[in-house]
């Protein structure tokens, strides 16, 4: 038989795993969606949980208000998990769960649901995201302080390596770092430092001979932006560093164990609300970044939908993105060749450039004592990078087609429909879920649940015992997500991550200087410096926008009260009243604005500060925006309002107007 030529593979590669990040409302509705998606040719599941599930609250908790079933499915106990996976054979399915603070719990529910199907845990395949450091840095769905969180991660790894050997217990994420503004160098370096922190913690909890398999089970979840050549180089650089780390730091001998395995969801940060149809091209180009070169190709891909900057995608929008993957894998010749970048001077040059930068940055984090100790540093670096990115967009140095250039457009037929081109979650879902969890609690064997939670509390206090077996026992007994989390909150304490805004460098531009002058003038008239409260009500942890507003307002000369994420309406109202602020800005991206904004307005009234003007920013459809203005919101901003200085002008003139001062700027 003749040797195959070196520029062709003897036979094409198998396609990557194709998933869609999906789930909403309750288990029954999401199960229907999953079955339909699998029929369409999706090859794995990717479960999106709602924010209460991700942060460990039951649907009837005060903080869950407005968030139940919004950005994902609400799962409160094993009954929900069984319904969610009903009719999906778990011995064959490969399931990725985007779950972090409560990963140990959701994995336990999955194991128990599989038991129910008669599938033993050692047959299960899938991934729990389980990466807490990036939650502190970017995504915000943390629950416990760093120490105990790292222990939970180490425990799930130690448990799965032994009992669920085909499971990826952690998916270390660079994805959310890029969403928070990371440069490629920062993305690589912080992710690797994060991996080191995890591995060092696991090292204490598993025998050395298992470290090879532990290393081999660690996978990554990366991002890919539209600069797709450099993005591909980034992945090659990560593969090099990962191999190096395995060999040098952890003594992993098997080369297979040292291979970088990663899944990907491509960039959402660069998707625009303006001319949203253009996002389809962006997504396609970003998909190339993670598939073009065979040496650093993704194992699993999920693509965002074209309308993510508008609201939640509908099943059809997600289907459109799945079809893109299928065309790439089944119609193009992508999978027929060996690595197409081997020997490329450009690619090698880019990789070594990134490696050099990343090593330097990793060194800095190591000097600070590692990733856990360096959370403040990393967070501040991300906020700073994001600030610079935003400044480039505002100045026009970075072009976003349809947003800050080529803005004249025909009306888009895609958003012309009655639903505005997005999914709207049935508002009845929350009430249904509240009733459902309450009747679940009423009908189960309470004594068994109490005993299981008592064991859990005991184990939490004993650092030498693995938390997984008692967690699985609690799942089996019928405990709820909120109960499991509350037990651990009591044992471990609560935590607020750094906001990173304090250290961001002050920016300057001529335009800003003008705004600053106006702040000075109005402050003079007010008697004290214009004071601005930036608040994030609800469970949504996507704080990048709020952080950039806070930093810009500070740079414009305001006194800014920013308390970070996850505030209740009454916390926000109390702060506004006690701090004596002149204006309030609220940011919500989870779609819960219709419930939460009126709740904040009520709380402000109750606190006696109803006269303080409120503006709102977030992913807010126009119909909702009109309703909010009706309810008394002074202004609503969406991703198309990318000019922050313009927003500052509005805010200043709003304050001036309320205080009977003459403003020289703004609307």
């Amino acid at each position: 038989m003749p040797e195959p030529p070196s520029h062709r593979l003897p036979e094409p590669d198998r396609p990557w795993m194709m998933r869609t990040y999906a789930g909403h409302s309750d288990a029954r509705r999401s199960n229907e969606l999953y079955r339909r998606n699998l029929e369409k040719g999706q090859t794995g599941l990717s479960i999106a949980f709602d924010l209460p599930t991700q942060t460990g609250y039951d649907p009837d908790h005060e903080l869950a208000k407005g968030e139940v079933g919004k950005v994902g499915v609400s799962i409160a106990h094993k009954g929900d998990m069984e319904t969610l996976l009903d009719g999906i054979p778990l011995d064959q399915m490969n399931t990725s769960m985007t779950i972090n603070a409560t990963a140990a719990w959701l994995l336990a529910l999955y194991i128990v649901a599989a038991e129910d199907q008669g599938v033993p845990e050692d047959k299960l395949q899938g991934t729990t995201q389980n990466d807490i450091l990036k939650e502190y840095l970017s995504r915000g769905t943390y629950a416990f302080p760093p120490g105990p969180s790292m222990r939970l991660i180490a425990d799930t790894i130690a448990y799965t390596v032994e009992h669920v050997p085909k499971w990826n217990p952690i998916n270390i994420c660079s994805y959310h770092l890029q969403e928070a503004g990371a440069t490629p160098v920062q993305e690589i370096a912080f992710t690797m430092c994060n991996a080191i922190a995890v591995l060092d913690a696991v090292k204490q909890r598993v025998p050395q001979e298992l470290m090879g398999s532990v290393f081999g089970r660690i996978s990554f979840f990366v991002n890919a932006g539209v600069r797709f050549i450099e993005e591909h180089a980034k992945l090659r650089a990560m593969a090099t560093l990962w191999d190096e780390l395995g060999r040098e730091r952890y003594g992993v001998e098997d080369e297979k164990h040292r291979r970088l395995r990663y899944g990907v969801q491509v960039n959402s940060l660069g998707l625009t609300e303006a001319q949203p149809e253009n996002n389809v091209y962006r997504i396609a180009l970003e998909a190339l970044a993670v598939t073009l070169g065979r040496n650093a190709r993704a194992r699993a891909i999920q693509l965002p939908a074209w309308n993510e900057a508008l609201g939640l995608p509908r099943p059809w929008d997600q289907q459109w993105s799945l079809r893109l993957q299928q065309i790439l894998a089944y119609e193009t010749d992508l999978l027929e060749y060996p690595d197409i970048f081997e020997g490329s001077k450009v690619m090698d040059g880019l990789v070594s450039e990134l490696l050099e930068g990343a090593r330097e940055e990793m060194h800095r984090v190591a000097e600070l004592g590692g990733a856990v100790e360096a959370v403040d540093y990393m967070k501040a670096s991300l906020v700073e990078s994001h600030r610079k990115r935003w400044q480039r967009i505002e100045s026009g140095d970075q072009i976003a087609v349809g947003m800050n250039k080529f803005t004249s457009t025909e009306p888009s037929p895609l958003t012309a429909g009655a639903d505005g081109g997005i999914l709207v979650v049935d508002p009845e879902v929350e009430a249904e879920r509240v009733r459902a969890v309450q009747s679940w609690r009423a009908e189960r064997d309470q004594a068994a649940v109490d005993a299981a939670l008592a064991r859990l509390a005991e184990t939490a206090q004993n650092d030498h015992e693995n938390i997984m077996p008692v967690t699985i026992a609690a799942a089996r007994a019928g405990a709820t997500t909120g109960e499991w989390s509350q037990t651990l909150r009591e044992a471990f304490g609560e935590y607020r991550a750094p906001t990173g805004v304090g250290d961001a460098v002050a920016g300057g531009s001529e335009d800003l200087a003008e705004v600053r002058e106006e702040v000075e003038r109005i402050s003079e008239g007010l008697g004290r410096r214009l004071k601005f409260l930036v608040g994030k009500p609800g469970l949504d942890g996507h704080s990048n926008g709020a952080e950039q507003i806070a930093v810009r307002a500070r740079d414009a000369g305001m006194d800014v009260v920013y308390e970070g994420i996850r505030l209740t309406p009454s916390q926000i109202a109390t702060s506004a009243a006690q701090e004596g602020v002149h204006v309030i800005g609220l940011s919500i991206l989870s779609g819960s604005h219709r419930e939460l904004i009126p709740a904040v307005l009520d709380a402000l009234r109750e606190a006696g500060v109803a006269d303080v003007p409120v503006v709102v920013g977030g992913i807010i459809p126009e119909a909702d925006a009109a309703a909010l203005r009706e309810a008394g919101i002074a202004a609503v901003y969406t991703p198309k309002d990318w000019n922050l200085n313009g927003m500052m002008r509005d805010i200043i003139s709003l304050v001036a107007e309320r205080h009977g001062l003459q403003s020289a700027v703004g609307a």
Partner: protein, 343 residues
């Protein structure tokens, strides 16, 4: 001739400026009365006034402070004013969360003035400190207000002392929280009854500052993070040894842990109370008020003003002869009058 009066004697009528044709001015005397009657809902509006630099607001702020002055109260304001200070990252806010909870469990109302370390850039500031103090937002007897530190790390915001004086009439405990080491505690000491400096294990700088005399021995030393075990035991021993060498071995050292289950909080609260009980309160407050007035005067009128008073020492001596119950603005005005008559 130079005028040393800080502002024209504005009374009820005022000419509206072009800039603020319709601005409402709060009634300082009324707010002062409400604070005196322990109406905690007056706190925020009172601070808005005290922080303001608008001439008519300042006049009202003076009226407010007069209402809560020892002269008006017939005694020193009853609150315990506590300063809590220390380097960044030692766990002051977690500690404060526990302390506030402790005081609340004993039905004592608490006001916290958090002086945020974030330095002003471009005039603006980011204030995020209140978030780190966990409280029940519906509890109306806890009040937290944050202000920017100003240009210096750990420095008091210009209005913080006046704010503490005002709130001391209404709340049971008033805390001034600042960040820094080596200088901030001295400044805080002038504004409070009891200073607690917070340190964590292995923070060698504090030990060095103490030994070198850069930092004065505080009323209470707090060692946090004692859940760290051996490191903490060692740190405790080092602190005690340093205090012994400084001849201050009777200084209370409290070891606390704020992670659950929190420990040492009740003991710390007790140590703070004990310090206050042993204090000659009128003397400490009077001294603080006089220093405060002179400082304000110096900021306003500079070297020229001090010279008109015959220099700082002369001015201090003169202040010592004044009515002990005078509030700060009255003392300031007296200084200005004196400078004017001598100048």
């Amino acid at each position: 001739m130079t005028s040393f009066r800080s502002s024209p004697n504005v009374t009820a009528s005022r000419a509206p400026s072009a800039l603020d044709p319709g601005r409402r001015v709060a009634d300082g005397r009324e707010l002062g009365r409400r604070l005196r009657d322990h109406d905690l809902t007056a706190a925020s509006a009172a601070l808005n006034l005290i922080e303001s630099r608008a001439p008519d607001d300042r006049e009202q702020a003076r009226a407010l402070l007069a209402e809560v002055s020892p002269a008006a109260l017939g005694r020193e304001a009853p609150a315990h004013i506590v300063g809590i200070t220390g380097p960044p990252g030692v766990g002051k806010s977690s500690l404060l969360s526990r302390l506030v909870a402790h005081w609340r469990s004993r039905q004592r109302s608490v006001a916290v003035l958090a002086v945020d370390p974030s330095s002003r850039r471009s005039g603006g500031s980011l204030l995020g400190d209140r978030a780190r103090i966990e409280t029940d937002p519906r509890d109306r007897e806890v009040f937290i207000r944050s202000t920017a530190a100003g240009s210096r790390l750990g420095g008091l915001a210009p209005a913080t002392r006046a704010a503490a004086d005002a709130l001391a009439a209404a709340f049971d405990v008033v805390v001034i929280e600042t960040v820094g080491v080596g200088q901030s505690e001295t400044e805080v000491a002038d504004a409070v009854d009891t200073v607690a400096v917070v340190v964590q294990p292995a923070s060698g700088d504090v030990l060095q500052f103490l030994k070198a005399g850069i930092m004065e021995v505080p009323d209470v030393l707090v060692l946090t993070k004692t859940d760290l075990g051996a490191v903490a035991t060692r740190a405790m021993a080092d602190l005690r040894a340093a205090l012994l060498a400084l001849g201050a071995s009777d200084t209370e050292v409290c070891a606390v842990s704020s992670v659950p289950p929190a420990t040492g909080i009740a003991e710390l609260a007790q140590a703070l109370d004990a310090h206050r009980a042993a204090l000659d309160l009128p003397d400490r407050r009077r001294t603080a008020r006089r220093r405060h007035a002179l400082e304000n005067f110096a900021v306003e009128h500079g070297e020229l003003g001090l010279r008109a008073l015959g220099g700082r020492v002369q001015a201090e001596r003169w202040l010592n002869g004044q009515d002990p119950d005078l509030d700060v603005p009255s003392l300031e005005r007296a200084l200005a009058d004196r400078a004017e008559s001598r100048g």
